[in-house]
Assembly symmetry: C2
Homo-oligomer: 476 residues x 2
């Protein structure tokens, strides 16, 4: 039974893309609909997003930000106000041309991001240095007209939060950009157990309209990188386009400096591809909708269900606990909840009850332990903590194994083909070399890491003086 069931998920090694699709659909995270490129986020997937959202929202509020809600639709003329921004986004927006039966005088796009709406609002509400900083955030869905889509990773519509802030000085905006990247990094590392590399995007890869973009990058099981969150220093470009000025303490008019930063449902794709295995999903305990699944064994026997429900009530006080008392076989249940990535399983049958014990089974290692019933809270707490820690360590180890350094283009091509993962290489800073590396190896610049390293003094591509060590990778 176990075997037959596991067959349903394509092994990672055989076809990673198919493994991913199997996991997202069979673990009931998403379903497809007749809306091309969009996904239905099912209860299990949405509960996971709600946990992530709550953790992030708390951190966003703790750092002094307030939530707001901006309109979904943006008039074309408003979107066009900042030149680089419209150039970056115009090719991928959805256009509303009719309202009811009438054709609109001006078409409206569905927000691909909301900089221009925040800017228009800021130009109305910011007057004096006393009005600064403005630290706003919004939870919303956005649309980008992607041609090729994959659940969570690249969809026409996705859910996210977008922070938009205005500050008196460039320095304060810079601090904010860093602060929010740190918030994203702590969410990923502490809650999602995903190790990240913090760094700066190259000019080519930065956000349309930004002065610079900071990013956190993580590495998937198949050696591809995934941009997990970005934080942009917008400088005063938008402020000039939208005339967002304040009078400083001396009464002189100054342009504000702005930031924006976003984290999306994409992070669920990262979670799946960092922790999952051939049995399915593995969700870190701190993010898991269900941390502990109780499975009664031989539940038709007297006292078993009572005992299991009693345990459920008892453990629900401390852990997100569920029970599967359906009429499926224990084997089916084991597989089902393993596939769904529930970190810990508790089995209890007549013999265990007799002996005053229960069985705990870890999802990450499969390790089984027999626990005296009196110790169950303590053991569950310890084990969940250990799973959280182990998942992070395992992911970090995987990333380290899949990170190489190269000094020549030959090495670069070889490693890129044979050992997919992060490739560290020196770069002169020119767009030409960046493009050439992509063309010849398929790898794009992921980031110039904050933690500097020097592998040589020459650009890996042109041999001229290096400017930065860059993390390169094929990426989602």
């Amino acid at each position: 039974m176990k075997k037959e069931f596991v067959k349903e998920i394509t092994p990672m090694g055989e076809d990673f893309a198919q493994w991913y699709t199997d996991v997202v659909t069979k673990a009931d995270l998403i379903d497809y609909s007749s809306v091309r490129g969009s996904m239905i986020i099912r209860p299990y997937g949405y509960a996971l997003w709600e946990n992530i959202k709550n953790e992030l929202d708390m951190r966003i509020k703790e750092t002094g930000h307030e939530n707001v809600y901006m309109p979904l639709l943006i008039p074309e003329s408003l979107l066009q106000k900042e030149k680089d921004h419209i150039e970056g986004f115009a090719p991928e927006v959805a256009w509303v041309t009719h309202g009811g039966t009438e054709e609109l005088a001006e078409r409206l796009c569905i927000r691909p991001t909301s900089e221009v709406l925040f800017c228009e609002h800021y130009s109305k509400i910011i007057h004096s240095y006393r009005d600064l900083p403005k630290l706003y955030n919004q939870w919303a869905s956005v649309i980008r007209w992607e041609k090729t889509t994959r659940p969570f990773l690249r969809t026409l519509e996705f859910l996210w939060q977008e922070g938009h802030t205005a500050h008196a000085t460039d320095e304060e905006a810079h601090e904010e950009t860093t602060r929010m990247l740190d918030v994203y990094a702590s969410l990923c590392e502490e809650i999602l157990a995903i190790p990240v590399i913090k760094g700066q995007k190259t000019e080519k890869e930065k956000f349309a309209g930004a002065k610079f973009t900071y990013t956190i990058e993580s590495l998937m099981h198949d050696g591809k990188a995934l941009q997990t969150g970005t934080s942009h220093h917008l400088g005063d470009g938008f402020a000039k386009a939208f005339n967002i000025q304040y009078s400083d303490k001396s009464g002189a008019l100054q342009y504000v400096n702005q930031t924006s930063w976003g984290l999306t449902t994409r992070v669920i794709g990262a979670l799946i591809m960092v922790h999952g295995d051939d049995r399915g999903l593995i969700i870190p305990p701190k993010a898991a909708p269900v941390q502990l699944m109780i499975i009664p064994v031989a539940q038709h026997k007297e006292g078993v269900l009572d005992f299991a429900y009693h345990l459920k009530n008892r453990l629900s006080k401390t852990f997100r606990t569920d029970i599967d008392a359906s009429d499926r076989s224990p084997g089916w249940k084991f597989n089902e909840h393993e596939m769904k990535g529930i970190p810990l399983r508790l089995e209890a049958g007549p013999r265990d009850i007799e002996k005053g014990q229960v069985i705990l089974v870890r999802r990450d290692t499969g390790e089984k332990s027999f626990i005296p019933i009196d110790d169950v809270e303590q053991k569950v707490a310890e084990t969940l903590e250990d799973i959280q820690k182990s998942l992070y360590e395992r992911a970090l180890k995987l990333r380290e194994e899949k990170t190489s350094s190269v000094l020549t283009m030959e090495e670069f091509k070889e490693v890129s083909a044979a050992h997919p993962g992060f490739i560290k290489a020196m770069w002169c800073g020119s767009r030409e070399c960046e493009d050439k590396i992509k063309e010849e190896t398929g790898a794009t610049s992921r980031c110039i890491p904050f933690q500097k390293e020097t592998l040589s003094d020459k650009c890996v591509c042109c041999g001229k003086d290096e400017k930065h060590m860059v993390y390169w990778a094929k990426a989602y």
Copy 2:
């Protein structure tokens, strides 16, 4: 100062519509943007919505529902599957015709509501009686192409939750329809202090595609009614259009019975117009983003600010507490926070500190009391509770004062013109009389209340045998 400030809000009695606009903008709930008919929900307004949302989400989950997320866009062919539904909604949807630079083969509408998406999904995931009931809910924004808009009350885009459920039998769907109406009623009465009348909509006023619609109706300060939440029994009409069938215990195929129910940001409009006064907003404590505002008096004097911040830390443990230590005058602050409807103000100056007391001022009555500092937690708790209760009672009294019974059309017209409010009158059940009453009095049928009453045995309009007592009113 106080006087001058209050002038900024148009008195209710002078121009109720202008009073409303003044309150929503000056209390910083919303702002306008260049997007016609949409609103920006500002931090204070959004914090209020978050409180309402959290309270409702908790109740939705406690009654066994799960949150999901459906796509924003609906293909035209999918929207057309249920005949009555498309007829009702087609005139008011926004159409996406282009993605990026390409014209779409089939246009997509932005969801005005998501029945068809849930139905398509249900037809895929419901197979057996074991799969029922399905109890789903979604938090989202929707668009309806309204010509005349007013913040919260009628906007192109609004935020809401929409529940969509599928059940084995008509009876179970009926129970669900009632259960969720009760959830809305308890939210309105217990948290928002808004008394509601529960009842059923007439055929004319029911939801497009429903078997019947239940509603809660509340009465505003100006005597107009506002539909505050609706719960629809969809019968098996959608199930037949979308082929949502399950095999029952005997193996026979059956259509499911469905419900849908929604509550929107409109409820904030109700809260404003039920509780507000000429000084501005009054927010019931259970919904208030800030329950208690501390205002230091003579804050430049030694010890005052320290004392105020100490109090803030102490009271923040139990209440949503804020402090206004800005350099504005106490008079300005009093007015500002009264206008924002903060239920309770705490003043503390050097003399109070000396006497070991603070001053509490209620927003609803203006009543001032001197409280020994040791009793402050208890007094704040008691006063907030009393404000919550008083606001409900005051609103109920107002509704009762503004509710009349009429037996003839002459009375109906007279009362409708002279005493705006709910008008109770008997009705024969015909569409003709319903239309005629609207034409002659401006009042629409609000609901056939669950709590039956008989005023006479004849229809107020045609004199034929009555079928129901109906609440009529001019409405938002």
